[in-house]
Symmetry: C2
C-alpha cells in the first residue's frame, strides 16, 4: 500500500473505543471554540457579501448558518460556516503547521448532520479523524508549504473535510482514497490574500469541496491510486521532500488533533505574551496614572520572530491591526481589553492608539521562547515598570481552560446578539457523545 492507501486504511479501521478520553475532550473544546468564532464572524462585512451571493446559488434551505437566520444547501452552508469561523483568524491553531484545524471540518460535518441523522459519537469521531488527517498531512509538508505561500488551512482542510465526511458515509478504503483525490485536485489558497476578503474563499472551498469529493466518491467517482504521494500528487506538488512516514506513524495512538490550541485574543499568536503583559500593566494604578502624561517609550523584548512578524506601525484597518504590535500594545494598555472591538477599524483610527503605538521600541532577545515576552514602560521622571510573561495563555504549555473557552464563547455570542441559548449550546457540546442527533447543535446556533 502507498501512503495514501495506508492512511485511508488507518482511518477506516479506527474504532471509537481506541480514542482516548483526553483526545475526545480536546475535540469538544475545539468544537466549542469553533462555535465561539463562528458567532464572531457571522456578521462581518466579508461574510455579509458572501452570504448574499452564496444563498443566491443555493439549491435548498436545509442547513443553517451560525448566528444568522438564512438556510442553504449543505455545500453552501459548509462553505459559509467555515469562512465565518475563520474570518478573523480568531479560531484554533495547530502550532507546528499553523493550520486552523476545526473550521473546514466542523463546518462540513455540521451541514451534513443537519440533512442526515448523525449521532454525537459518530460526529466526534469524524471530526477527530478529519483533523488528524489534516494536521498529519500538514506536518509532512511543513514548514515549506506555508513559507512557499500556501494557505495551509485551506489546502489541508480540504483533505480533512473529505476524510471526515467520507468516514461518516462509511466509504470503503478505496473510496476514501478517491475522496482524497477529489479533494487534492481542488486544494487551493494563497497567502497573498491574507488581510483581504478574498482570503475566505479558499477556506470555504476546503469545507465545500472536501464534502463534495466525499459525496462523489460514494458514487464511485474515482481518482488516482496515490493522490497524496504520487509523483504529481498533493505532497510532491505542494511540498518539498515531504515526510511521508509521519503521515501514518502511530496513527490511532498519537493524536495531532489533540495538540490544538485556542486564542485568547483575536491576534497573531506571537502577540499573546505581549498582550498579556500589557493587560497586566493596564491594571496597575501607577501605570494608568502616568500612561497619558509621562510615557516616554514602550520597550517590547522577545524573539526576533516577534519583531519580524508584528513590527507594523501605522496600520489602516482592523484586519491589519491583528498582526501589529504597535496597535496591540497601545489598545491593550489604554483600554485594558483585547477583544474584537479593540482590533476594529474604529480602534485603529483612534488617535490615542496611534500616538501610543508610535512609542513602541523592539528589543530582540532570542533567549526568549516564542511564548514569552517582556514589556517595559519607560516614563519621564518616574520609575520604569516591567512585566515579564514566561508562558502566555493559549500556548500548549498553558492552555485555555474549559472555563476560558466557555467565557470566550459567551463573550462572542453575546456580542453577536443572536439570542441563542448559550448554556444549552455549551452543554450540548460537552455532552455531544451522548446525543442521538447532532442536528440539534445547529438548531441552537442559528438565529431564529
Amino acid at each position: 500500500m502507498n501512503t495514501s492507501q495506508l492512511l485511508c486504511a488507518n482511518v477506516h479501521e479506527n474504532r471509537w473505543e481506541n480514542i482516548a478520553q483526553t483526545v475526545r475532550h480536546e475535540a469538544k473544546r475545539s468544537l466549542l471554540n469553533y462555535f465561539a468564532v463562528g458567532f464572531a464572524g457571522a456578521h462581518d462585512p466579508t461574510i455579509e457579501k458572501l452570504v448574499a451571493t452564496y444563498t443566491s446559488f443555493s439549491a435548498k434551505q436545509q442547513a443553517s448558518i451560525i448566528g444568522r437566520p438564512e438556510r442553504t444547501d449543505m455545500l453552501n452552508a459548509a462553505a459559509l460556516n467555515a469562512m465565518s469561523a475563520n474570518v478573523f483568524d480568531y479560531d484554533d491553531t495547530h502550532l507546528r503547521t499553523v493550520i486552523h484545524p476545526t473550521a473546514p471540518i466542523a463546518a462540513a460535518l455540521l451541514a451534513y448532520a443537519e440533512v442526515n441523522r448523525v449521532s454525537g459519537r459518530d460526529f466526534l469521531q469524524a471530526l477527530i479523524l478529519g483533523m488528524e488527517v489534516e494536521c498529519r498531512v500538514g506536518n509532512a509538508i511543513s514548514p515549506y508549504h506555508y513559507n512557499r505561500g500556501w494557505h495551509i488551512t485551506s489546502t489541508c482542510g480540504a483533505l480533512g473535510a473529505a476524510i471526515a465526511i467520507g468516514w461518516l458515509l462509511r466509504l470503503s478504503p478505496t473510496q476514501l482514497n478517491w475522496a482524497l483525490g477529489g479533494a487534492a485536485n481542488q486544494a487551493c489558497g494563497i497567502v497573498e490574500t491574507l488581510g483581504t476578503m478574498a482570503k475566505s474563499l479558499s477556506v470555504g472551498n476546503a469545507a465545500r469541496n472536501g464534502m463534495l469529493s466525499a459525496l462523489l466518491a460514494a458514487q464511485n467517482f474515482d481518482g488516482p491510486l496515490a493522490p497524496l504521494d504520487g509523483v504529481r500528487g498533493f505532497l510532491n506538488v505542494m511540498g518539498e521532500k515531504p515526510d511521508l512516514a509521519g503521515i501514518n506513524d502511530k496513527f490511532g495512538e498519537h493524536w495531532e488533533a489533540a495538540l490544538n490550541t485556542y486564542k485568547p485574543y483575536p491576534c497573531g499568536i506571537v502577540l499573546n505574551p505581549v498582550i498579556e503583559a500589557c493587560l497586566q500593566l493596564s491594571a496597575r494604578k501607577e501605570v494608568v496614572h502616568n500612561l497619558l502624561q509621562r510615557l516616554q517609550s514602550v520597550e517590547v523584548t522577545g524573539q526576533k520572530l516577534l519583531r519580524d512578524r508584528t513590527d507594523r506601525p501605522g496600520v489602516q484597518t482592523g484586519r491589519e491591526s491583528q498582526v501589529s504590535a504597535q496597535h496591540a500594545v497601545a489598545v491593550s494598555l489604554l483600554s485594558g481589553h483585547a477583544g474584537l472591538a479593540q482590533f476594529s477599524d474604529a480602534a485603529v483610527q483612534d488617535p490615542a492608539n496611534r500616538a501610543l503605538g508610535a512609542k513602541l521600541r523592539f528589543t530582540v532577545d532570542d533567549t526568549f521562547s516564542i511564548d514569552a515576552a517582556k514589556v517595559t514602560l519607560h516614563f519621564v521622571s518616574e520609575p520604569s515598570v516591567t512585566v515579564v510573561v514566561e508562558q502566555a495563555r493559549g500556548s500548549t504549555g498553558r492552555p485555555l481552560t474549559d472555563q476560558d473557552i466557555e467565557n470566550k464563547f459567551k463573550t462572542l455570542s453575546t456580542q453577536a446578539d443572536t439570542g441563542c441559548d448559550q448554556d444549552a449550546l455549551i452543554k450540548a457540546v460537552w455532552e455531544i457523545d451522548a446525543l442521538d442527533d447532532v442536528g440539534a447543535l445547529m438548531a441552537l446556533a442559528r438565529q431564529s
Copy 2:
C-alpha cells in the same frame, strides 16, 4: 502599477476595433471546436455522475448543459460544460503551455449569457480577453508549472474565466484585479489525477470559481493588490522565476489566443503525425491485404519525446489508450479511423488491436520535429511500406481548416445523437458577432 494592475488596465482599455479579424475568426474556430467536444463529452460516465450530483445542488434551472436536457444555475452549468468539453482532452491546445484554453472560459461565458443578455460582439471580445490572460499567465510560469504537476488548464483557466466574466460585468480595473485575486486564491488542479474522473473537478472549478470571483468583485469583495506578482501571489507560489514582462508585453497587439490549435484525433497531440501516417497506410490496398497475415513489425520513427510520452503497451482503458502509441497505431491501421470509438474501453479490449500493438518498435531520431513522424510496416516476404508525415494536421503550421472543424463538430454531435440543428449552430458561431443575444447558442446546443 504592478503586473496584475497593468494587466487589468490593459483588459479594461481593450477595444473591439483593435482586435484583428484574424484573431476574432480564431476565437470563432475555438468556439465551434468547443461545442464539438462538449457534445462528445456530454454522456461520458464521468459527466453522468457529475451531472447527477451537481444538479442536486443547483439553485435554479436557468442555464443549459451542451447535449443534455438538464438545466442548472449559472455556476453549475459553467462547471459541467467546462468538464464535458475537456473530459476526453479532445479540446483545443495552446501549444507553448499545453493549456486547453477555451473550455473554462466559454463555459462560464455561455452560462452567464443564458441568464443575462449578452451581444455576440461582447461575448467574443470577452472570450478573447479571457483566453489571452489565461495563456499569457500560463506562458509566464511555463514549463515549470505543468512539469511540477499543476494542471495548467485548471489553474490558469480560473484566471481567464474571472477576467472574461469580469469584463462582461464592466468591472473597473481595481475590481478586475479583485476578481483575479479571488480566482488566484481558488486556482487548483494536480496532474496526478489525469486519467481518472477526479481530473474533471478542477476544470469545472476553473469555470465556476472564475465566474464566482468576478460576481463577488462586482459587489466590491476585495482582494490583494498584487494577486499575480505579489511575493505570495499566484506567479511566485505556482511558478519559479516567472516571466513577468511577457504578461503585458504588446497586450492588444500580439494575441496568444490566436495561436490556438485543434485536435484531429482524441489523443495526445504528439501522436498526430503517427496516426496520420497510419491512416494513410490503411488506405493502401497492399497494406490491408498483408496486415493481418504478414506483418512482422511496425517501426515508428520520431523525436525522443514521442517515445517518452506514448510508449505504453498493454493499456487497460479507453482513457489510457489516448496516450498509447501501441494502441493508436493498431487501431488506426486496422480500422482506418481514429475517432472516439477507436479510443474506447471496447477498442482497448479487442485482441486484434492488442496483437498488432505488440509489434510496435520505436526508433528515436531527434532530427524529426514534434509535428513529424515516419511509420514503416515490415512484412514477411513482402517489401516494407513507409509513410512520412512532415507536418501533421492540427499543428500551427498545418492547422485544421474551418471545414475540418465543422466536420469534427458534425461527427461528434451526430454521435451524441441529441437532435440539435447542426447547421444552425455552425452558422450562429461563424456569425456570432452579429448576434444580439448569445443565449440563442445554448438554445441550439441543449437537448430539447
